[in-house]
């Protein structure tokens, strides 16, 4: 890299910084809220329900939070990739295998992009998929229970960012290497990036619950594959990925990967890839990954797999093309008709919009600028539908309403910009506080936007709430889009760092809710279905406590015959058969977490007593007026003393 190039890059960065600084000064004295009647528009009276569910990625919390809209109220945290002591997720014997990977149990991840399952391109309320960015994974959350039921690891990847963008009938969720790596992994100098590093685009079968699997991977040049969206309607069968660092640099990327005027949108014809795979294209290559499934017995189990099918672009003609796109593009968003592919070039001065139909024509006419590693690069002008001029600074992500309008977040100039598909005319601007990343309109990345609101998911919070020391909750903002002009209605805090979000009308989810588990269908092998069966069984140094709960006692609640160093497994079955009556179980010195046991369910806590004595356990979830009485004692004797096992409740 030459000195002049470095200077140019630094100048660009300085201009961008100055723009941001100036803007921040302007907005710090900006309006605090929207119209005076905004309060009534977001008010949901006590006992009433919100109109929409919003599923926010939990960012570095690794989980998903569920908010109601328009109130913004937080109504649930769904444990996904991170251990969650609040309910024992990833700690209990039944759930810890759900976090298993080829690296072992990984207790955390960085979750960015939720995607609702779709039927005919429309969110259907069955499942929510979300990516784990750090140790590449994709999870499926069942929305009848709001529980994670399946997690699959992605082999041959690094930084699973462009994921898990879903195809219109949930055939696939997709994944990619944000960070190209040696594939297969190898001990090579980092400076040999250009020779030895490459990327993968991964298609994961997703429409059969419990049977997610890597269908195939496409081996692609060593760029950073950033974000994706699937085609829909006219472009159904295609998927689009943004790239940056087409410079293929490996250090100081903020300068070195910002040199090229254009990077690419990779357009992948996944139906064509399916055909090639069916015809035996590509080869089976090594790639360790773990697939975890919560069974019907509500026990998570892991399966290690060792290989995947990898296709080279040369193996499958007409499968993948590059669309030149300015400049280090981030988001790539497909409008409800599937014709327009909007790229957010975060350093670009325009928003480029590609035309799917022009792309098909350009392919047919072989309007190629060049070919990179077997991938034709189409001519920019041949695929361009139009450019939104002077939209603002730092365009990142675009969502759509049902009326032909697009809404793009401007990170640097901190605003949401509404513009018209087809005319590319900017119609309206709404300041956001501060530095918006993703936007979310319910259904706004589907064939059927449900509209009404756009949520701005802001990266910077600063002064929007009462200060809470150095770390602040992230700031979301609800903006009304039902009229010609956007109106800011509400600020509400979000947990972790929500990146993308998904929303849909509540009734698509409420219709399928599970309220409890049928005790008579509990097939956990350690379930105790009647209090009369509550018991203790010693097997060497392992002691199984078959325990039941009901308002408000444990059976047994007096336990003797345990020795220091035993592995005590509390198999707790909640005998309740009513909605919203979980019981908790906590024992002193447990080095994992509590259990929160749903009605009809069995959950198991491992406890290794370290000291002689008599130790209490108790119910953690306030269950009745006698909740404080829901307690018990476990007596621990010296190792080798072989005390008699004794237990009971009452009497």
């Amino acid at each position: 890299m030459t000195n002049s190039r470095i200077r140019l890059a630094m100048l660009v960065a300085a201009v961008a910084f100055a723009g941001a600084f100036t803007y921040a000064c302007q907005t710090s004295s900006g309006p605090a809220a929207g119209a005076g009647d905004a309060a009534s528009e977001v008010y949901v009276a006590p006992g009433e329900h919100d109109e929409f569910y919003a599923f926010m990625s939990g960012g570095f919390s690794g989980n998903v939070t569920v908010h109601g809209l328009p109130s913004g109220r937080l109504i649930k945290t769904i444990a996904v990739f991170s251990q969650y002591p609040e309910n024992g997720w990833g700690y209990s014997e039944e759930t810890k295998d759900m976090l298993r990977t080829s690296f072992g149990l990984i207790p955390w991840d960085d979750s960015h992009h939720p995607q609702l399952s779709q039927t005919d391109g429309i969110p259907d309320g069955r499942w929510l998929f979300i990516n784990g960015n750090n140790t590449p994974r994709v999870a499926r959350v069942d929305l009848s229970k709001f529980e994670t039921e399946e997690i699959i690891e992605i082999p041959n990847s690094g930084g699973n960012h462009a994921s898990p963008f879903i195809t219109p009938n949930s055939e696939y969720v997709i994944a990619s290497t944000r960070f190209s790596v040696p594939i297969p992994q190898a001990d090579v100098p980092i400076a040999t990036f250009k020779e030895n590093f490459s990327g993968t685009l991964t298609f994961i079968r997703a429409d059969q619950p419990g049977e997610m699997d890597i269908a195939f991977q496409i081996h692609v040049p060593g760029f950073d594959y950033d974000i994706a969206h699937s085609g829909r309607q006219v472009s159904d069968g295609w998927a689009f990925f943004t790239t940056y660092n087409t410079e293929q640099e490996h250090t100081l990327l903020e300068v070195n990967a910002s040199q090229a005027d254009k990077d690419f949108v990779a357009a992948v014809n996944w139906r064509r890839a399916e055909t090639c795979v069916a015809e035996g294209a590509g080869s089976v290559v090594p790639g360790q990954y773990v697939h975890n499934v919560m069974g019907e017995d509500r026990i998570g189990r892991s399966e290690l797999k060792n290989s995947v099918r990898m296709i080279e672009p040369a193996d499958c003609s007409d499968m993948i093309y590059f669309l030149p796109t300015p400049k280090s593009p981030h988001g790539v968003d497909v409008d409800p008709t599937g014709e327009y592919i909007v790229a957010g070039g975060k350093l670009a001065t325009t928003i480029p919009v590609h035309s799917f139909s022009k792309m098909i024509d350009a392919i047919a006419n072989e309007q190629f600028e060049t070919v990179i590693d077997g991938i034709p690069v189409l001519e920019y002008e041949a695929v361009l539908a139009g450019e939104v001029q002077e939209p603002g600074l730092g365009p990142l992500h675009t969502e759509f309403d049902a009326d032909g309008n697009a809404y793009t977040s401007m990170f640097i100039s901190s605003e949401v910009v509404k513009w018209r598909l087809g005319t590319w005319e900017v119609l309206d601007r709404q300041e956001a506080y501060y530095s918006t990343g993703h936007l979310m309109i319910p259904g706004g990345d589907s064939s059927q936007p449900f509209g009404k609101y756009v949520v701005a998911l802001n990266k910077i919070t600063k002064d929007r709430y009462l200060p809470t020391g150095p770390e602040l909750a992230h700031s979301a903002q609800l903006i009304d889009i039902s009229g010609d002009n956007m109106r800011l209605l509400l600020d509400f805090p979000t947990m972790g760092e929500p990146h993308y979000a998904q929303g849909l009308p509540a009734e698509l989810v409420t219709a399928n809710q599970v309220q409890m588990f049928d005790l008579t269908e509990n097939t956990n092998p350690y379930a105790t279905l009647t209090e009369a069966d509550a018991r203790i069984e010693r097997d060497g140094s392992t002691v199984h406590v078959y325990m039941t709960t009901i308002r408000s006692h444990f059976a047994p609640d007096n336990i003797e015959g345990i020795m220091v160093g035993d592995t005590v497994l509390f198999h707790v079955t909640n005998l309740e058969q009513d909605w919203d009556v979980p019981h908790g179980f906590a024992v002193i010195g447990a080095r994992n977490s509590e259990l929160l046991v749903m009605p009809g369910e069995t959950r198991t806590l491992r406890w290794v007593p370290q000291r002689v004595g008599v130790f209490p356990f108790y119910c953690t979830d306030f269950c009745s007026a006698l909740h404080q009485e829901m307690q018990g004692y476990i007596r621990v004797s010296e190792r080798g003393s072989n005390p008699t096992i004794a237990y009971g409740t009452g009497g």
Binding site: E531, R551, L575, V581, A625
Partner: protein, 172 residues
């Protein structure tokens, strides 16, 4: 999960019961005599409880005018199984436990009351004076709604009936 109250009415109920049951399930706040087309007189109420005479006698819930036949051993066996899973964590026979001894309950209460207590415990302990008194006596430990269907509750009643017949001496 819902009870099967309106889907699978048990065979021995009368037409009047069906009408009351349907109204109760559909309306929630329906007048006490809704569906009883030929009872024009104002229902008798207890001044203190605000309940109708029927509710006082039969309990508050879907069950009315239950006609008992001979003891059905198969039904009682089924009831015993349901009782073991859904009820025995709080009720034991011949002794007071978390809830009352039930060995003589079929002698102390009419069948409808027993079934309504099983099927609609929240409202019973909130409104029925007898159930309210027991709720207080048993330290306000909730009588758990274990989602029995009417058929389940009828079977449990048959089991309790057999227990009562076998152990007439036991007292609460």
């Amino acid at each position: 999960m819902q009870t099967e109250a309106t889907k699978h009415p048990v065979r021995f109920v009368t037409l009047v019961f069906l009408a009351v049951s349907t109204a109760a399930c559909g309306g929630g706040e329906s007048p006490p005599d809704a569906g009883a087309s030929d009872t024009p007189e104002t229902p008798a109420t207890s001044a203190n409880s605000g309940l109708t005479a029927d509710e006082l006698e039969y309990g508050i819930g879907p069950i009315r005018d239950l006609v008992l036949g001979d003891l059905d051993p198969a039904m009682a066996d089924a009831g015993a199984e349901i009782f073991a899973i859904k009820c025995s964590a709080c009720h034991k026979m011949g002794e007071r436990y978390v809830g009352p001894d039930l060995s003589t309950v079929t002698e102390q209460r009419v069948p409808e009351y027993v079934m309504n207590m099983i099927l609609n415990p929240e409202e019973m302990v909130e409104r029925h004076p007898v159930a309210k008194a027991l709720f207080a006596e048993f330290n306000y430990t909730p009588m758990a709604n274990q989602q029995l269907t009417e058929e389940d509750a009828r079977a449990v009643f048959e089991y309790l009936r057999r227990v009562g017949a076998e152990d007439p001496g036991a007292q609460n």
